[in-house]
C-alpha cells in the first residue's frame, strides 16, 4: 500500500537529510539550510498526504519484524493524534531551519547543526509514529541524545556543555524509567503493540503492577516535559543556540512528555493515582514556573520558566480526568508551540541584533525594530491569554475545566479555580514585563551592537507563527478545528466529547477569571516594577535551593565519592589478589552442581593403557612443572619447557583422532615460541638467585597458599575431565554435523565444515577478534618505549661485528631462504584440501606466516622488506572483506547470511569437481590469519630497529614514521 511506504518515507526523510548534511563542507551554511528546509518541507507534505486517512478516522500501519522472539516489531502507526504532532514537528522544523540560516554565524560549523537538527526531527517523528512501545522508547532516547548534541552545539562554552549534560542525564534517566515502565506494561498486556495496549484499559488499571508501571512511565514523561521536581534542566538548556530552543523547548522535545501522557491517557488515566501524581505535578509546575518566570533577568530564562509553567498547565489538564480537559490539553499543546516558538525566535532576533538578552540592559527597542516588536507583542499577548488570540481559547477551556473538577480532595477542588487564576495573573505579569522591558521605555544605552530590523527571511518564520496565532484566535473552528478534531477523535475514540471552539461563549465564569487574570496581572506588574528594575537575580519568598547545585552534588556523590568508596571497600589495584579470587571462584563454581546432583567416578573405559601416550604425558607433565619452576630464573628454559608441554598436547590430538587440532596446535606452537623469543629481549635481566633464610621464610606462607590453590585447581580439573571421559556418550548435536557434513556442506572433513559452513558466523566473529587483537598489538607497539637498559643491542650483537654475525648465519640463512617456497606450497596445500582432509584456513594461514617470518630470521628485516612488500593490515582487511562478502553473497540468492552452496561441474580431463562456496570463506580466513600473525611478529621484530634509532635521535619523530602499515625501516636487525 502507498500509505505504508509513505509512512516509512516520512520517518526516513529526516535521517537521510541528516546524513547528507553531515557530508557537506564545514561552512556550507546556505546549502545545509536549504537541505534541511527542503527535507522538513518534504516531510510536512508527506504528512499532509495522510490527511484523507486521518480525517476518515483510519489508522495507517507499517510493520516489519524486528525482534520477533521478544514480541517487538518495528511498527509505525499514523492516527490523528500522531498526525497532529507530525504537522507540528515538521512545520515548525521547517520554520526553524529557515530561521537558523540567518541566526547561525558563518564561523560556526553550520552543517553539523543541521545534521543534529534533522536527526532530532527524525527521532521526534519516530516517537510520535511508533506503533510499538519498545520502538517508542528507542526513539525517545534518540531524542535525548540529539538534544544533548544540539544543546551542547557550542561545545567550547562550558555552560553549554553542562546544560547539555544535565538535560541528557535527566531526560535519558527518565527514558530508562520509561523503558522499565513499558516492559511492565508489556508484561501486563502481553504485547508491546500499541493497538493492543490501547485496547487493554481494564486489564491495565486492575492489574497489581499498575502502580509501578504508572510511576515508571510518568517518570519518563515528567522528566521529558520538565515537570516539577525535574524542571531544573530546562533553564540550563537555554545555553543552546536560540533556534534549538525555539524548536526543542517550545514545539518538540518538551512536548514529548505531554504527548506520552495523552497517548496513554485513555488506558492509564482515571485512577486516583493518576490524578494525584499527574495533577499535583502539573499544578505545582504551573504555579511555580509562572512565579519564577516573573523574576528572570535573561529573556530566554523568562521564556524557559514560562515554558515550564505552560507544560505544567497541560499536564494539569491531563491530570483532571475529564475528556474535555483532554481536548483543552491537546489544543494548548498546539497553541503553546506556535506562540512560544515565535517568542523564542523574537528573542533570538533581539539577541542577534543587539548582542544581549539581559532585560536590565534592553529597553525601548520598538523604535529600532517596530515590526519585530509588534510581532513579539502579539505573541506575548497570546501567551498571556488576551482575547482574539489562540492562547485565550485554550486558557478559557482550561478555566472551565478547573471549575468542573471532581478530584479526591473536595477542598482542593474548590481552591483550584483561585489558584489557577493567580498563576494566570503571573503569566500576564511576565508577558507584560517581557514586552515592556524590551521594546518600550527609554532608548537603550551601551548595547554591544546597534539594533535594527533583522533580514526579511529571518523574520518570516515569526510572521508565519504570529499570523497563525491570530487566525486561530479569531477563526478557531475553521482553522484548527479539523486538526484538533482528528487528534482528539483518534485518541479518545467513542469517548470523544463534543466541544465548542467559539470565541464568545457569553458572560461566563471562565471569562470572569480571564478578565481577573488580565487586570490582576497588570496591577501586579505595576507593583513589582520598582523591584524588578533593581535588577536582582532570583525570585523572592522561595527557599534559595539552587537545583543545579543539588544536581551536581548528587552526581558527585554517585559517580565519584560513592564509586570510590565502593572500589576502596571491595577493590584492589593489585593483580595477584584479583587473579587469586578469580581462580578460587572458578574452583568453587563446579562445587554447586556437584553438591546438588552428586558425583560418582566410574572405572576407565578400557583397562589397557597406550604406552606411547603415557610416556608422552610423563614428559609433558615434567615439562609443565619445570616451566613453572624456571619461569622466574631462566626464561628461555621455561619457554622451551612450555613448548614441550604444548607438543605433548599436540601429540594427544594426533593420537586421539583430531588431526586438524594437531596441525593447528603445531603451527601455533611454532609461532608462539618465536613471538615469545622476540619479547624476551625487552624484559629486565634476572638477578642471580640470592638465597637467604629470611627471604624464604617470608615468602613461604604466600607460596604455600598459592601452591594449595594450584593443586586444588589441577586436581579439580583432572577429576572433572576423568569423570567426563568415562561417562557414556549421550546424544548430542554432533550427530547432525557428522551426518550432514557431506550432503549439506560438500566436504568430508567434518571439523572444517563446521567451522566454515555450519558455524561460519562464529568463525567470522572469531577472525574479527583476531584482526582486532592484531591491530591492538600494532598500535600498542607504535607507542612503545623500551626501558633504558634494554635499548642497547643484546650482548652477542655488541661483541660481534655485523660481518661476523652474517657469516655465522650463512648456512642456516641459505637453508631458510630456500624453505620459503616449500612452506608456501605446503600452506596452499593445507588450504586447498582443508574442506575434505585435515588442513584449512587457520593452519594454512599460520604456516604461510611462518614462511615469511623465516625470511626475516634468515635475512634480517631490511633484506626482506627490500624484496617483498608485505602489508599485513591490508591482508587482514581483504581477508575479512572476502569472508564477509562470501556470507553476504547468499543474500543475492535470497538465502540467509553465510548460506553455502556446492557447485558441481563435469570438467574435461579433470572429471567431476565439487566446489563449495565455503571455500571462499576459508580463503578469507587464510588471508586474515596470515595478516594477523605476520603483523604480530613483524611489529614486535621492528622494535629492535626503532630502539637503536630512538637512541640516536629524539624519540618523537621516530614514532610518527610508520603510520599506515609496517613500512620498510632503515637498519638491519636479526630476529
Amino acid at each position: 500500500m502507498p500509505g505504508q511506504t509513505a509512512l516509512l518515507l516520512l520517518l526516513l526523510l529526516p535521517f537521510v537529510g541528516s546524513i547528507a548534511a553531515m557530508l557537506l563542507r564545514a561552512h556550507a551554511r546556505t546549502a545545509a539550510a536549504s537541505l534541511s528546509g527542503a527535507t522538513s518541507l518534504a516531510a510536512l507534505f508527506t504528512t499532509f498526504s495522510f490527511y484523507g486517512d486521518v480525517k476518515a478516522g483510519r489508522v495507517v500501519h507499517f510493520a516489519v519484524p524486528w525482534l520477533p522472539a521478544g514480541g517487538v516489531d518495528f511498527a509505525l502507526r499514523m492516527d490523528g493524534y500522531a498526525w497532529m504532532f507530525c504537522v507540528m514537528v515538521t512545520g515548525i522544523g521547517f520554520l526553524v531551519s529557515l530561521y537558523a540560516r540567518y541566526y547561525m554565524s558563518p564561523q560556526d560549523p553550520v552543517p553539523r547543526f543541521y545534521a543534529f537538527l534533522l536527526a532530532f526531527m527524525g527521532s521526534m517523528l519516530g516517537v510520535v509514529l511508533a506503533g510499538n512501545l519498545v520502538v517508542l522508547v528507542c526513539f525517545w532516547e534518540l531524542t535525548s541524545i540529539a538534544s544533548f548534541l544540539l544543546i551542547g552545539y557550542w561545545h567550547h562554552n562550558p555552560a553549554a556543555r553542562d546544560g547539555a549534560r544535565m538535560a541528557l542525564i535527566v531526560t535519558a534517566s527518565g527514558g530508562l524509567c520509561l523503558l522499565a515502565g513499558v516492559v511492565v506494561l508489556g508484561h501486563i498486556v502481553g504485547s508491546y503493540d500499541l493497538d493492543r495496549v490501547l485496547a487493554a484499559r481494564d486489564l491495565i488499571v486492575s492489574h497489581d503492577l499498575y502502580i509501578p508501571a504508572l510511576i515508571l512511565v510518568l517518570l519518563g514523561a515528567l522528566t521529558k516535559s520538565a515537570q516539577f521536581p525535574f524542571h531544573f534542566w530546562l533553564p540550563h538548556a537555554m545555553t543552546a543556540p536560540t533556534p534549538v530552543s525555539a524548536y526543542l523547548h517550545s514545539a518538540a522535545m518538551v512536548k514529548l512528555g505531554v504527548f506520552l501522557l495523552g497517548r496513554l491517557w485513555p488506558v492509564m488515566a482515571g485512577t486516583d493515582a493518576w490524578i494525584w501524581i499527574v495533577g499535583s505535578a502539573g499544578l505545582v509546575t504551573f504555579v511555580l514556573g509562572a512565579y519564577m518566570a516573573m523574576f528572570q533577568q535573561d529573556l530566554k530564562g523568562l521564556l524557559a520558566y514560562s515554558t515550564i509553567s505552560h507544560l505544567g498547565l497541560i499536564t494539569l489538564l491531563f491530570g483532571l480526568n475529564s475528556a474535555l480537559a483532554f481536548v483543552a490539553a491537546v489544543f494548548h499543546i498546539l497553541n503553546h508551540a506556535t506562540f512560544k516558538a515565535s517568542l523564542f525566535m523574537a528573542v533570538g532576533i533581539v539577541d542577534h541584533e543587539t548582542g544581549t538578552r539581559d532585560m536590565r540592559r534592553l529597553s525601548g527597542l520598538y523604535r529600532f525594530m517596530p515590526i519585530t516588536a509588534t510581532l513579539a507583542t502579539v505573541a506575548a499577548a497570546a501567551m498571556a491569554g488576551v482575547p482574539l488570540l489562540n492562547g485565550f481559547l485554550s486558557k478559557e477551556m482550561f478555566f472551565a475545566e478547573a471549575l468542573e473538577v471532581e478530584g479526591p480532595l473536595p477542598w482542593l477542588d474548590r481552591a483550584l479555580p483561585y489558584i489557577v487564576t493567580v498563576a494566570a495573573m503571573f503569566s500576564v505579569t511576565y508577558s507584560l514585563r517581557f514586552i515592556h522591558g524590551v521594546f518600550f521605555g527609554p532608548a537603550p544605552t551601551g548595547l554591544p551592537r546597534g539594533p535594527h530590523e533583522p533580514p526579511r527571511w529571518m523574520r518570516l518564520p515569526v510572521d508565519v507563527l504570529v499570523l497563525a496565532c491570530v487566525i486561530v484566535g479569531i477563526f478557531p473552528t475553521q482553522t484548527i478545528g479539523p486538526l484538533l478534531g482528528a487528534a482528539v477523535g483518534s485518541a479518545l475514540g467513542a469517548a470523544a466529547p463534543s466541544y465548542s471552539l467559539a470565541v464568545w461563549h457569553g458572560f461566563t465564569v471562565p471569562l470572569l477569571m480571564s478578565a481577573t487574570a488580565l487586570a490582576g496581572g497588570t496591577v501586579l506588574f505595576l507593583v513589582l516594577r520598582p523591584r524588578l528594575a533593581r535588577g536582582q537575580e532570583g525570585a523572592p519568598l522561595l527557599p534559595s535551593i539552587d537545583s543545579r547545585r543539588v544536581f551536581d552534588a548528587v552526581l558527585v556523590a554517585l559517580s565519584w565519592r560513592w564509586a570510590r568508596a565502593v572500589s576502596r571497600w571491595i577493590g584492589t589495584e593489585r593483580l595477584q589478589p584479583q587473579l587469586r579470587w578469580l581462580v578460587m571462584a572458578a574452583i568453587a563454581a563446579p562445587l554447586w552442581p556437584i553438591y546438588h546432583v552428586g558425583f560418582a567416578l566410574r572405572p576407565p573405559v578400557a583397562a589397557a593403557v597406550d604406552w606411547p601416550i603415557a610416556i608422552a604425558w610423563l614428559v609433558g607433565a615434567g615439562c609443565a612443572v619445570a616451566a613453572a619452576w624456571q619461569a622466574k630464573y631462566h626464561r628461555l628454559a621455561a619457554l622451551m619447557f612450555a613448548g614441550g608441554a604444548g607438543l605433548v598436547a599436540c601429540l594427544t590430538f594426533v593420537w586421539f583422532s583430531a588431526p586438524d587440532l594437531a596441525l593447528t596446535q603445531l603451527m601455533v606452537e611454532i609461532v608462539t615460541t618465536v613471538l615469545m623469543l622476540l619479547g624476551l629481549r625487552w624484559l629486565p635481566k634476572r638477578l642471580p638467585r640470592r638465597w637467604s633464610w629470611a627471604a624464604v621464610r617470608g615468602a613461604m606462607p604466600r607460596r604455600l597458599r598459592d601452591l594449595a590453590i594450584a593443586a586444588a585447581a589441577g586436581t579439580g580439573l583432572a577429576t572433572v575431565s576423568y569423570a567426563a571421559m568415562t561417562r557414556p556418550m549421550s546424544e548430542t548435536m554432533s550427530r547432525f554435523f557428522v551426518e550432514r557434513a557431506y550432503p549439506d556442506g560438500g566436504g568430508t572433513n567434518v571439523v572444517n565444515v563446521i567451522l566454515v559452513d555450519f558455524r561460519g558466523f562464529d568463525t567470522l566473529g572469531e577472525i574479527t577478534v583476531l584482526a582486532v587483537v592484531a591491530v591492538a598489538v600494532y598500535s600498542l607497539l607504535r607507542r612503545f618505549r623500551p626501558a633504558r637498559e634494554s635499548i642497547e643491542p643484546p650482548s652477542p650483537q655488541r661483541t660481534q661485528s655485523g660481518r661476523a654475525a652474517a657469516d655465522d648465519a650463512l648456512v642456516p640463512g641459505f637453508l631458510m631462504r630456500g624453505m620459503f617456497a616449500a612452506i608456501a606450497v605446503f600452506a596452499f596445500f593445507l588450504l586447498f584440501r582443508g574442506h575434505n582432509l585435515p588442513g584449512g584456513g587457520f593452519a594454512a594461514g599460520i604456516a604461510m606466516a611462518i614462511a615469511f617470518i623465516l625470511q626475516y630470521m634468515a635475512g634480517g628485516t631490511r633484506w626482506v622488506e627490500d624484496r617483498i612488500s608485505l602489508r599485513p593490515v591490508r591482508l587482514m582487511g581483504i581477508g575479512l572483506a572476502i569472508a564477509a562478502a562470501t556470507g553476504a553473497g547468499s543474500w543475492l540468492f535470497a538465502h540467509p547470511f553465510l548460506t553455502s552452496h556446492v557447485a558441481e561441474w563435469q570438467l574435461p580431463l579433470v572429471g567431476h569437481v565439487e566446489f563449495p562456496s565455503a571455500f571462499f570463506f576459508d580463503i578469507g580466513v587464510f588471508l586474515l590469519v596470515v595478516g594477523a600473525t605476520a603483523l604480530f611478529l613483524i611489529a614486535l621484530a621492528h622494535q629492535s630497529l626503532r630502539a637503536h634509532r630512538a637512541d640516536a635521535e629524539p624519540a618523537d619523530p621516530a614514532d610518527r614514521r610508520d603510520d599506515a602499515d609496517v613500512q620498510p625501516l632503515a637498519g638491519d636487525a636479526r630476529l
Partner: protein, 115 residues
C-alpha cells in the same frame, strides 16, 4: 586407563599454569596462561571422549554414521580456542613488554611491592 593418564596430565598442566598465574612477574603470568590454555584446550577436546583411529573425516556420499567417528564438535570448538589463545598470548606479551617499558619493572602491578 588412557583416561587416567590424560586426566592427570591435564591436572598437572592446569596446576602449573595456575601456580604461574599467581606469581608476581609478568613473564611467569604469560607462561602460566599458555600452560593453562593447553590444559583447558585438551580438557574441552577430551569431553568428546577418547577415540583412537576415528578422525572425523567422513567418506563422500550419503549421510555418515556418527558412531564411527570421534566427536567433531569439541574439536571445532578447540580449533578456534587454539587460535584465540594464540592471539591473547600475543596481546598479553605485548602489553607486558609495553608495561615494562613504561614502568621500568616486570612486576604485574607496575611497581615493586613495598616489602
Amino acid at each position: 586407563m588412557n583416561e587416567v593418564v590424560v586426566a592427570i596430565g591435564i591436572g598437572v598442566l592446569a596446576g602449573s599454569g595456575v601456580w604461574l598465574l599467581l606469581r608476581p612477574r609478568t613473564f611467569q603470568v604469560a607462561v602460566g596462561l599458555s600452560l593453562l590454555s593447553y590444559a583447558v584446550n585438551v580438557f574441552i577436546f577430551v569431553v568428546g571422549r577418547l577415540r583412537v583411529g576415528a578422525a572425523p573425516i567422513v567418506t563422500a556420499g550419503g549421510a555418515a554414521d556418527p558412531a564411527a567417528y570421534a566427536d567433531p564438535l569439541p574439536q571445532a570448538l578447540v580449533l578456534t580456542a587454539i587460535v584465540i589463545s594464540f592471539a591473547t598470548t600475543a596481546l598479553l606479551l605485548v602489553v607486558l613488554i609495553a608495561a615494562r617499558g613504561v614502568t621500568g619493572t616486570d612486576h604485574v602491578d607496575g611497581g615493586e611491592p613495598d616489602r
